[in-house]
């Protein structure tokens, strides 16, 4: 892809009157995704008011069926707003710091940083259910607990992920 872009620059160069010049291979090689990405994520799950088994309508539902199980584990009634501010995603080389472990490590890692989180009446219910769909007949579910939160929380940290044996 980069070779293709370099080629396009080559074609465009004679036509452009401004002082544009094609980048050499070596120059291109030095260009790297330096700054990573900054993401502000805001996710909102609106309740489906037609589902009356939850007060005010049910939110999203995620189910997991452990192998050979008759029933499923459900994270049910996920609704409200989840916002994460100042999320950055970057590839960094860890080659210093970490009480001397960085220099020994000396490899690249994917770094996911988080600074703050905001919840707008966010909630979910942890349950066990007899079937995936809550709208099919014969539905049976045991709710273990519901967690509900609202407001700004201090949630920060850098998660580093890398290949390992």
């Amino acid at each position: 892809m980069l070779r293709l872009f370099a080629g396009l620059f080559c074609l465009a160069a004679p036509l452009a009157m401004a002082d544009l010049r094609p980048l050499e291979e070596t120059e291109l090689a030095a260009v790297n995704g330096q700054d990573g990405l900054t993401i502000s994520a805001s996710i909102r799950f609106n309740p489906n008011v037609s589902q009356t088994r939850c007060a005010g309508g049910c939110g999203a539902r995620v189910t997991i069926r452990p192998g050979q199980s008759a029933g499923v584990i459900a994270i049910d009634n996920i609704k409200g707003g989840f916002s994460f501010d100042g999320v950055t995603l970057d590839i960094v080389t860890i080659n210093s710091g970490f009480n001397g472990e960085g220099a020994q490590f000396n490899r690249d890692a994917l770094k996911l940083s988080l600074r703050e989180a905001y919840f707008d009446n966010a909630q979910y219910t942890l349950s066990g259910a007899n079937q995936v769909s809550a709208t099919q007949p014969g539905f049976q579910q045991t709710d273990l607990l519901t967690y509900h939160t609202n407001g700004r929380v201090d949630l920060r940290g850098d998660l580093y992920i890398f290949p390992s044996n």
Binding site: L28, Y147, S164
Partner: protein, 497 residues
């Protein structure tokens, strides 16, 4: 940008991933949080409001300081990957399992096995006032071993002229009489119960009128042996038979008691048996007339010494532990309270009032999970696995009062949970969701076919607390060592409320 060569591509394979969390902090701050889904005995919902919740670095002074936590490091990360039976010995051949491993260190201070054991003997929290001697654990172990060895010496001397193999043979010989008499007790007891049942049913059906008023159970009608009606006669005879069996049973018990009193060299069978069992508990089953300790508590304690030495010498070298986490929350909830009045037998229920703002707090200081793992895979039973949890915490504080000090709380120090559940080949932990949505955990039982390998290889669990105080009452150290679950079938039940 450089294209990757074949050689480079070849070295990239579907390896696992490592990850760690640096500079982590969670504080609920001003957000509201609540946990719902519980009901009280009247069926009303109980909402738990979290007033304060945090996960911070060790030294946060129960969340008041914003100390950052480092969960894992570049060289000691969490690891998630696929492992087979060549890498995990307990896995069945041909099975590949997904393994999640927590940060693992091998130095004595951060290897939870060594440090947890040391902290149990140490008792107090190292570094706190009055707890700066790293050899305290070793001194305590020595004192314990000395006390147990003194008992061992006493028993050795008591039976010096007899020998422990002879002691056992003589106990076995004397036990033959005990067993025979125990059998008699069991037989007579059966007959006694049968006689009592006969008497009870005859008593129920026997008449009760002006001439023959029915006596209490076990007492005879006034006419004794000259009664005319057959039901009355039959009942009176049953009372005699029951009383005779009662006497026979008493005599059998007395005879059994006498069998335990059989003496050799001035010691009763009861005393000799107790001594033999105590010696076995201290030193393992005797394998010679004058046996050396080959197992038991003394050998086990001696085995702990190596770990204690490793930890104390590391501490003396000025080495430190990798800081753990501080975790905690404060919660309030409301519960109904019902007043009762009247006598215990005829108590009447008064009005139920709601007790508002019940308070509960939990704080954990210096929590680590180093060296734990979870292996999961699938087989014909569904999702199966084995888990080893190495939970260590410097301190755990439970409180039910908002404005009080630790003097009014439950405080546990040096807590080590070494929990091992499941073994890939002999006892895989099975997790499933039942057809009605209830959860089920199962550990298959030991079988005759695998009992030998089962007891050799299925790992045991240990729980120890260095020191426990409850409202400033010192309960000392607590430990459960060598716990193994033979069979477990646990499921959730939705209570009908």
């Amino acid at each position: 940008m450089q294209p990757m060569g074949d050689a480079e591509l070849e070295s990239v394979s579907g390896a696992g991933i490592g990850f760690f969390l640096d500079g982590f902090l969670y504080d609920k701050q001003d957000a509201t949080a609540r946990i719902e889904g519980f009901k009280d005995s009247n069926g009303n919902p109980v909402v738990i409001h979290l007033e304060n919740a945090y996960v911070k670095g060790q030294g946060s002074q129960r969340g008041t300081l914003d100390t950052l936590a480092n969960i894992g490091t570049p060289l000691h990360p969490f690891r998630l990957g696929i492992k087979d039976s060549s890498q995990i010995a307990s896995l069945p051949a041909g099975i590949e399992a997904l393994q999640l491993m927590t940060p693992t260190w091998t130095d004595p201070l951060n290897d939870t096995h060594h440090y947890g054991l040391w902290s149990y003997y140490q008792g107090c929290l190292y570094g706190e006032a009055g707890c700066t001697n790293p050899d305290l654990a070793l001194n305590r172990l020595n004192a314990n071993v000395a006390a147990l060895t003194a008992r061992q010496t006493y028993l050795m001397q008591r039976y010096a002229g007899v020998g422990f193999l002879t002691l056992q043979q003589e106990i076995n010989a004397d036990m033959a009489l005990v067993q025979a008499r125990q059998q008699t007790v069991d037989t007579v007891n059966g007959q006694y119960m049968a006689a009592r049942n006969t008497m009870t049913s005859l008593h129920n059906s026997a008449r009760n009128d002006l001439i023959y008023p029915k006596p209490a159970l076990g007492e005879k009608y006034w006419c004794g042996t000259v009664c005319v009606p057959s039901d009355v006669r039959a009942y009176n005879a049953a009372v005699d038979a029951w009383a005779a069996k009662g006497e026979e049973l008493t005599n059998a018990h007395v005879a059994l008691g006498e069998a335990w009193q059989v003496k050799r060299y001035g010691l009763t069978l009861g005393e000799r048996t107790q001594d033999y069992n105590e010696f076995t508990s201290l030193c393992g089953v005797p394998n010679a007339e004058q046996p050396a300790c080959s197992g038991g508590r003394i050998t086990k304690m001696e085995g702990d010494r190596a770990s204690l030495l490793l930890v104390s010498s590391s501490l003396k070298d000025g080495k430190t532990r990798v800081p753990g986490l501080d975790i905690g929350f404060e919660s309030v909830f409301s519960l109904p309270s019902t007043a009762w009045s009247g006598s215990p037998g005829g108590a009447t229920q008064g009005p139920t009032t709601v007790r508002d703002n019940e308070f509960f707090s939990l704080n954990i200081e210096g929590f680590t999970l180093h060296g734990s793992y979870l292996n999961i895979w699938g087989n014909q039973d569904g999702l199966v696995g084995e888990v080893s949890l190495q939970l260590y915490a410097d301190k755990l504080i439970l409180g039910a009062c908002r404005t009080c000090t630790d003097a009014n709380r439950f405080v546990a120090k040096n807590i080590y949970f070494d929990l091992n559940l499941g073994h890939g080949r002999y006892q895989p932990l099975n997790f499933s969701v039942l057809g009605d949505g209830e959860l089920r955990f199962r550990l298959p039982g030991v079988t005759w076919a695998n009992h030998q390998q089962f007891y050799e290889q299925v790992p045991k669990s240990n729980i120890s607390i260095g020191n426990l105080t409850l409202s400033n009452v010192n309960l000392g150290s607590q430990a459960v060592r060598g716990l193994r679950i033979d069979y477990l079938d646990m499921r959730t039940i939705n209570l009908p409320r």
